[in-house]
């Protein structure tokens, strides 16, 4: 899986690259429009992460170039709020997804997973963890053929933690994943905990879940 990271801040680009490399992706970095266009014309990429605010021009030029030559390449636009008029615009321009800065790397991972799944015609349909199976197609979870009844939110939380297994996921990350990029400060409200508690109760009925860890004051982690 080849990914091109188009980002003018080298530190952020390296941070993203490290994260994605650890998940098994092969990454290249382009720091401006010119380099990005060079890379695109010489290599095939599965996914391009595209920052719109580039020093030598607008990221949209890169997007247009990609759409002209490599129709199969998925593009995730990464931008600071304010550079685009709104979310819909980004998607209308032919991007596959849209992330606003600052984003969580794990969120980027989840979006990538969804895009790659779509690109491969939904062949990856199940995620398995400690005997539990997540059926991504129809949002169902089962334990050794035994169906477990989860709400949409519980399923989303479970899937997010499984996708980012062995990583501590903060409550903020989970909140943003479930409710989106809300603009109001509500870090005091741990609604996410209620859903996690319910999720764990439902899972515990079938098997011990010591691998589903609560990280004190921070969030949760699923160990595999």
């Amino acid at each position: 899986m080849n990914i091109l990271i188009v980002e003018d801040s080298p530190e952020l680009a390296i941070e993203v690259k490290d994260f994605l490399s650890a998940s098994g992706y092969v990454c290249k970095i382009a720091k401006d429009c010119a380099t990005a266009l060079d890379e695109i014309s010489s290599n095939d990429f599965d996914v391009v992460l595209l920052d719109l605010g580039l020093p030598d021009g607008n990221g949209f030029e890169v997007l247009t170039a990609i759409r002209k030559t490599q129709s199969k390449t998925a593009v995730i636009i990464i931008t600071a709020r304010g550079e685009l008029d709104d979310r819909i615009n980004g998607l209308q321009l032919g991007a596959d997804d849209y992330l606003t800065k600052p984003f969580a790397l794990t969120e980027l991972g989840a979006r990538l997973f969804a895009i790659i799944r779509r690109m491969h015609g939904f062949t990856v349909n199940d995620l398995k963890v400690h005997g539990f199976t997540l059926q991504l197609q129809d949002y169902k979870v089962s334990f050794e053929e035994d169906p477990i009844n989860l709400t949409k939110k519980e399923f989303d939380i479970f899937q997010y933690l499984v996708l980012n297994k062995n990583r501590v996921i903060t409550r903020l990350q989970l909140t943003e994943h479930i409710w989106g990029d809300i603009l109001e400060v509500n870090s005091d409200s741990n609604f996410i905990d209620v859903h996690v508690r319910n999720l764990r109760k439902k899972l515990e009925k079938h098997a011990p879940i010591s691998w589903f860890e609560t990280v004190r004051n921070v969030g949760y982690r699923i160990n595999v």
Binding site: E15, K101, P102
Partner: protein, 444 residues
């Protein structure tokens, strides 16, 4: 009062003053002219009389009457008279004088202009008086004054109307400038640069200066937009970097609890920072009209969506959510912004509510404008607090987390859509926000 009326009234008043002075001076002027004319006539008559006179005739004049030694003769209508009388002694030289005096002729008193001519004839002094009646003249003066008064009044009225019309014509470009260049301009982009036709250099100058000012404002406006985009990028990129670094740091198994706590709290602060920046950017983008308002919004649907989004929080406080929207109302605006507006109001209604309280959404048409009410049974606010809730960074309740921008955003979104907000609140009983929508957008 408009300048055209002020000018016209001032002109009329000065004209009236001049006319009044003229009118008051008229009798004096007329008297002078008339007297001059009469005097001339009297002198001519005297000349005629003196030319023909001789001793006999004088005697004849005086004797024919009686012994009073006075001769008098007058015309039938008493408008002229002539009188010759002998003076007690000779004068040595002759003397002419004009006087105005009342005289009684055959028991009728009239004012007369009289020429008195004293002269010597054969060592005897005589006085000749020739008089001309003034009563006709007085009648004439009165008629002239009346006539002139009418003419002057007509002149004042006519010039007043002409003044008003002309000033109106002169000021037309001024009102046009106000209307097209100032009143109808909401944002610099829509400014009309076509010069306004005017014959007055002043208004041409005003127009030019306004155009220049607008160009400067548009320049600043563009700069601000650019600035907002730059701030977004330049501030949010390092935040993204820090956030990712901290999140990666958390994965380190060797961290002790206090380090984890510190990282977690740094992440919270970072999140707060991100949200404050995003919210400030949101406000300035709304105020810069960087949003379109061309979507049709169905409030019933919007509220259903929001209730689902906020379900957890409503349940967490065991609140009752009453959705009592019943009117069929569609509004043309920006869906994202109106979503944020209602979201912020509802979040506040939840945040400041009491356990087991309720939130009620209702609507009605008042004076043909759609009104949406968001009421809660929360802690409420007092007068002082109510006055500053829409100010940026104002936090009414220090215990609750927040950045104090929620209602500031509500206000700018409302202003953007021409929605007026009214708030009423009773401490410890609850708060009601009323959104009054502009009625011209009703159901289109």
């Amino acid at each position: 009062m408009k300048i055209k009326h002020q000018l016209a009234i001032f002109n009329a008043l000065t004209r009236l003053l001049v006319i009044l002075v003229l009118w008051l001076m008229l009798p004096v002027l007329i008297e002078k002219v008339v007297f001059k004319h009469i005097n001339k006539g009297l002198i001519e008559k005297k000349q005629k009389f003196i030319e023909h006179i001789d001793k006999e005739e004088i005697n004849d004049f005086i004797v024919r009457k009686d012994s009073s030694e006075t001769y008098a003769s007058f015309s039938t209508l008493h408008n002229e008279f002539l009188q010759l009388s002998r003076l007690p002694h000779a004068l040595g030289k002759s003397k002419t004088e004009f006087i105005t005096e009342p005289r009684i002729i055959e028991e009728e008193e009239n004012d007369y202009r009289i020429l008195q001519y004293q002269f010597d004839y054969e060592n005897e002094g005589y006085q000749l008086e020739i008089g001309s009646s003034l009563s006709e003249i007085q009648d004439l003066t009165f008629t002239i004054r009346f006539f002139i008064l009418i003419v002057l009044v007509i002149i004042v009225v006519v010039t007043f109307l002409m003044d008003t019309a002309y000033i109106d014509y002169l000021l037309k470009p001024f009102y046009k400038i106000i209307d097209t260049k100032i009143r109808r301009v909401n944002e610099p982009d829509t400014f009309d640069h076509t010069p306004i036709n005017s014959h007055s250099a002043d208004f041409q100058e005003l127009d030019t200066v306004l155009n220049q000012m607008m160009d400067r404002i548009s320049g600043l406006f563009k700069k601000e937009k650019q600035f907002i985009a730059n701030v977004s990028h330049e501030l949010l990129t390092p935040i993204a970097l820090l956030k990712n670094k901290f999140e990666n740091l958390l994965q380190n198994e060797s961290l002790n609890d206090s380090a984890v706590d510190k990282i977690a709290s740094s992440l919270k602060t970072l999140d707060m920072l991100k949200k404050v920046i995003s919210n400030l950017l949101l406000i300035s983008r709304i105020e810069n009209h960087q949003y379109e308002a061309n979507e049709i919004i169905d409030f019933k649907l919007l509220v259903t969506d929001l209730a689902q989004d906020l379900e957890d929080r409503i349940e967490a406080k065991n609140l009752k959510f009453h959705n009592q929207l019943k009117e069929d109302f569609h509004f043309k605006g920006n869906a994202t912004l109106l979503h944020i507006l209602l979201y912020n109001l509802l979040v506040n209604a939840i945040k400041f509510n009491k356990e087991n309280g309720s939130i009620t959404l209702s609507d009605s048409f008042q004076n043909q404008s759609y009104c949406l009410f968001v009421s809660d049974t929360g802690i409420g606010m007092n007068e002082m607090q109510l006055q500053k809730i829409f100010k940026r960074f104002t936090r009414i309740n220090e215990e609750k987390e927040g950045h104090g921008l929620g209602l500031a955003i509500v206000e700018s979104i409302a202003v953007f859509h021409h929605i007026t907000i009214e708030v009423s609140s009773v401490t410890n009983e609850g708060t009601t926000f009323l959104l009054r929508f502009p009625n011209h957008r009703k159901a289109n």
